[in-house]
Symmetry: C2
Subunit: 217 residues, 2 copies
């Protein structure tokens, strides 16, 4: 059978648009009802698409959520987290990284809450997207801890490895969410607190009083 050449054009663009509509529908649905189970029927209706189309585009339910996670990283402003954390001055990188990642978490809170919980409950449910994200974060914290160590930031009794543990805990989505959703703190306030805890725990440069005065009262 003769195969014609088909250039990317209107059709491919239309396909891309339906793909977007579906992803946006999932996003909207999760934001509208973060604590309710999602079914593809609802998503399909909201995206003005037939349910089998979701399978045609994403392959499976898991594929849909995997794509959503990748979409978040690609278009949700995650690059800013990476560039912030890689600042030549590790202390600046630490602070900016905390602020950037907290912003990122806050912007996509509901979607991330669902994706993380789904991954915990069923490893297959979101493919490896969350695992990959977290591996990246782990590697980043190893790097950051090493640079903080080299810069003489760490207290002498804190090994780089122990610093990784602390950074790993405090840059997690769960830590953000415990303070944000759990305690009602605004995103910027959460970042401030997490930086504060990190510095009090790790900072060994001689100082008796904390670096920044959190307003007393």
């Amino acid at each position: 059978m003769a195969t014609r050449k088909y250039e990317q054009s209107l059709r491919a663009e239309a396909a891309e648009q339906t793909r977007r509509r579906i992803l946006d529908a999932v996003d909207a649905r999760l934001r509208a009802a973060p604590a309710e189970p999602v079914n593809l029927d609802t998503i399909a209706r909201e995206a003005r698409v037939a349910r089998p189309t979701i399978y045609a585009v994403f392959g499976s339910r898991a594929g849909l959520f995997t794509a959503l996670a990748h979409d978040l990283l690609a278009r949700g402003g995650f690059d800013r987290v990476r560039t912030s954390a890689l600042h030549p001055d590790p202390i600046q990188g630490m602070r900016d990284g905390f602020t950037a990642v907290t912003d990122f978490y806050a912007t996509h809170r509901d979607v991330l809450r669902s994706l993380f919980s789904m991954a915990a409950l069923d490893a297959e449910a979101v493919g490896g997207a969350i695992a990959t994200l977290e591996e990246g974060r782990a590697a980043g914290m190893v790097d950051l801890a090493g640079r903080l160590h080299d810069a003489g930031f760490l207290r002498p009794d804190v090994t780089p490895d122990a610093a990784v543990d602390t950074l790993w805990l405090l840059t997690s989505f769960d830590s953000f969410d415990l303070l944000h959703a759990g305690r009602g703190l605004a995103a910027t306030e959460v970042a401030r607190r997490l930086i504060d805890i990190t510095e009090h725990t790790l900072d060994g440069r001689d100082r008796i009083q904390p670096r920044t005065g959190l307003d007393p009262q």
Copy 2:
């Protein structure tokens, strides 16, 4: 219609045993496969019971998990957490509370991981059991922060309210799990780290070097 009196006897005891068998089956299942979805068919088979029996006993799927959560609190050693935290000396209470709650989390890690994730994903899924547990923890942290404040433990620039935020974060199951499952730390080590972070962040009693008193530099 005349109502006869029915004494607790063989029947009630047998009923209690099936109830236990079902709860044990859920527990065993979650431990055996923490990252796989649970279906009641499997539970029923493992408990050597027909699936409708689960509904007869617990009313619903949500009721089953609610009962599991309550069972954990009633028989899983949670009372030790309460008594530890209520130690007259708030500093001792803080340390013992951390240790006790970490032990509790570690003992029931897989079950708690599932229950918390289920609750996040579907508020109805576990009834209010998790919410109740967390409200209790919140109240406990408010109490503890107040007592730490009164005992002069808190740094002057740390309000009791800010201390609650810190304690809330660091006594959470998620914080435990990030260090335990995420970083591979043993339960006792996790407790040590969390106490360490807490004290460095909140402790205002005059000291320049960390409490463990390793030689400075």
